[in-house]
Amino acid sequence: MEIGFHPAAPMDLEQAEAQGTTATRDLVARTDAEKHVVQMEARYLGLLEASPDGMVVVNPRGEIVLLNARAEKQFGYHRDELLGQKVKSIIPEGFAERLIADGTRTAAEALAQQIGTGVELYGRRKDGSEFPIDIMLSPLDSAEGILVTAAIRDISVRKDTEMHLAMTAAKYRGLLEAAPDGMIVVNHRSEIVLLNAHAEKQFRYWRDELIGQKITSIIPEGFAERLIADGTRTAAEALAQQMGTGIELTGRRKDGSEFPIEIMLSPLESAQGILVTAAVRDITVRKNAERHLAQMEARYRGLLEAAPDGMVVVNQGGDIVLLNAQSENQFGYSRDELIDQKVTNIIPEGFAERLIADGTRTAAEALAQQIGSGIELTGRRKDGSEFPIEIMLSPLKSNEGILVTAAIRDITLRKKAEKHLVQMEGRYRGLLEAAPDGMVVVNQHGEIVLLNAQSENQFGYRRDELIGQRVTNIIPDGFAERLIADGARTAAEALAQQIGTGIELTGRRKDESEFPIEIMLSPLESDQGILVTAAIRDITVRKNAELNLIQKVEDLNRSNEELEQFAYVASHDLQEPLRMVASYTQLLSRRYKGTLDADADEFIAFAVDGANRMQRLIQDLLAFSRVGKRKLELFDLPSDRALRQALLNLSGAIKQSGALVTNGLLPEVKADEVQLTQLFQNLIGNAIKYHSSGVPHIHISAARNGLPMWTFSVRDDGLGIDSQFFEKIFGMFQRLHKRDEFEGTGMGLAICKKIVERHGGSISVESKPGSGSTFHFTLAAIEATSSTAIEETNDDTSSIG
């Protein structure tokens, strides 16, 4: 029998060889050709055995005629157990039928349909378990008819993989579709192979409009390039560099409009090579937010930087996350020295603790308690120095949690001012309380806002009974009105008018009794407006003293007047009877002297003497009382005129004594001429009377020495006066000599003193016994405007003999 090869297309070597093996047994003893066939058969058998797939040859009846070791393994049978069996026992379905001729086609046709295609079926092992197989059929002509060789591949793994893959693909597709981002899968040629619904929406394309298109049509720049291998790296490396990072690019919609996107890439291995999945996120809103945020951030930073206070932002860990330039200044650090440092570096105490949640409250509550209140703490500079600060806190929500912004104000000056103020206040209060006068501070409504202990005493109130009350309760009239603004002036002006002047008013005590007071006002600026401080002095005593004084003065004046009246009347009325006595005793003496006895003469002489003396006394007393009685008529007069009159009146005495009277230039004075004359007359008369031996020299001069009074001097070279009598001699009826030494009543100097004192001057004497005397008296000078006033007298002596 010949071996015939009937090639059926396609036919591989195996099949060809397989076909060769269907040589019949009776060909064994053949020739070389037969030997060749046997060789071929062996070779084919070898191939069969060596095939990685299970090989099973099946006859038209569906019986297994041949199988290889692999098939044995696959199905778990021994060869012999399968030879001659129906193929159905190992491939229950799908194989045998395929070979069956049916009404529509012949077996050959049926077979032909299967040839070449991998068919997926199920194999059944000896133990009954099934496994997926993939068979490839090829026909083999033989004497027994057409045999079918099936190459059987165990596709369990493949199937698992396929299933897994299908599942994964499904899952993947599900995920893809459900993804909130647009998902686009791109191949190494930058073509879109896959996209999801979201991406359709984003780019406003239909899916099929994009599949197969270049990615650059929707992401013009930045994507495709990233995937390209260039001189420095492979595509894989290029891709690896992009993985995992969000890349901001610009997407282009179907209508050409662009929008900002962020893409995240991830690789995907596939049969088509490495694909790149891009998760595309439309970041328009985020970009807007970012821009807004950037704006706000810029603005915020601007505000922060421009803030006059130091601004420090602290996180809940107490670290400084942000600070502005002012805080750099305040604390003497540069910004980077403080960022991430603990805030306790610059505010050692009182800040960080306030932010900590503790057993009683959460961090948020802790913070909330601090919000809005100014907290005084101590700040520490870089150089270690400390300074007082006031911080105001406010919360700031951020991705890092709640941050706390502290506005830090350096209150060194304020603290100083406060301390100063407290000091001043303390001092002021101290002064107020210690003041000897009552001190009452009144506001512009006339209400008492402050008072001290002394005023409590004065008015008999307790402090709290007066604070807030109207000042008219204690000073009914004259005070409140002075402070009131009226049509003519403002309150300030009204007040200004009162400042500095002592004002006498009446105070009213709690018991309604009143007492005289003197108030001195001074203004006090305060945040409540202008306050008025009144220093109140109880002048009851002073007033009483004044009244007493006035009374006394009145009494004194009256008494004086009475006295003078009396003196005048007495001396006047005494004159007449005295005249009788004196005259008649003189007549007696004249007519009967020598006619009566010596005793009578002596008696009469004493009587006459007595009467005469009495007359002179009375006259002097009268003269003295007249000095006071007569109203002082002061005129500007040249004092030398009064001198000349006095000298005239004394001409007798001058002639008798031969006295030499000289004078210097004498000024104009304001004086009563008659009394001035009397004054000169008495002094010069004395000078003449109390002369020592020889011719009396008397000199009258005047000097001023820049003083407002002229000092007149009457100098003599007479007897002089012992200093113990300097005061006495100006007394009334004071005499230093015996009656028989010098006549005189002792009234002369008393009258001089009275005259000088009435003119507002004073009189005194310089003297030494035996060296003469100088009497000085002062009189008021005339004001400098008078052209005849003389400043200094020259000793231009002129004499009146």
């Binding site: 007449e576 005249r579 009788m580 005259s583 008649y584 007549l587 005469n612 007359q615």
Partner: protein, 142 residues
């Protein structure tokens, strides 16, 4: 011929002194005395007991008199047509300006203050005599 002088003075002591002083000065003076203002007027008007009184050539009048004081007397004299030509001299202890003024206003011919000392008094009286009764011309008695 005697000179008739009326002295109006209430103090007898003063009267006697005056009389003595005038006697010293001029013996031909006859001194009549009225001791109060009323009597003085009666004398001058020759009333009552003075119906036969001499009209005086000269009157010496004190100011402080009882019943009618010298100022009134002076006024009466100087308002009386028949009497006003008689020289009337005020002779008083007062040296008060007001008295001097008043007297001259009432047309006294002269005002003299009585000095306290006797000597000075006598000198004044002498000077009255020398001036008024010797040197000066007096109107004729009518």
């Amino acid at each position: 011929m005697t000179i008739q002088v009326l002295l109006v003075e209430d103090s007898p002591g003063a009267v006697r002194l005056t009389r003595e002083a005038f006697r010293e000065a001029n013996e031909s003076i006859e001194l009549h005395v009225a001791s109060d203002g009323l009597e003085a007027m009666a004398f001058l008007r020759r009333e009552g007991i003075h119906v036969n009184a001499e009209r005086p050539d000269f009157i010496l009048l004190d100011l402080n008199l009882p019943k009618m004081d010298g100022r009134e007397v002076l006024a009466n004299i100087k308002h009386d047509e028949g009497l006003k030509t008689i020289p009337t001299i005020i002779l008083t202890t007062s040296d008060a300006e007001v008295d001097i003024q008043k007297s001259y206003q009432l047309q006294a011919n002269c005002y003299l203050t009585k000095p306290v000392q006797l000597e000075k008094f006598e000198a004044v009286v002498k000077s009255i005599n020398d001036f008024w009764l010797t040197t000066a011309k007096l109107p004729q008695r009518r």
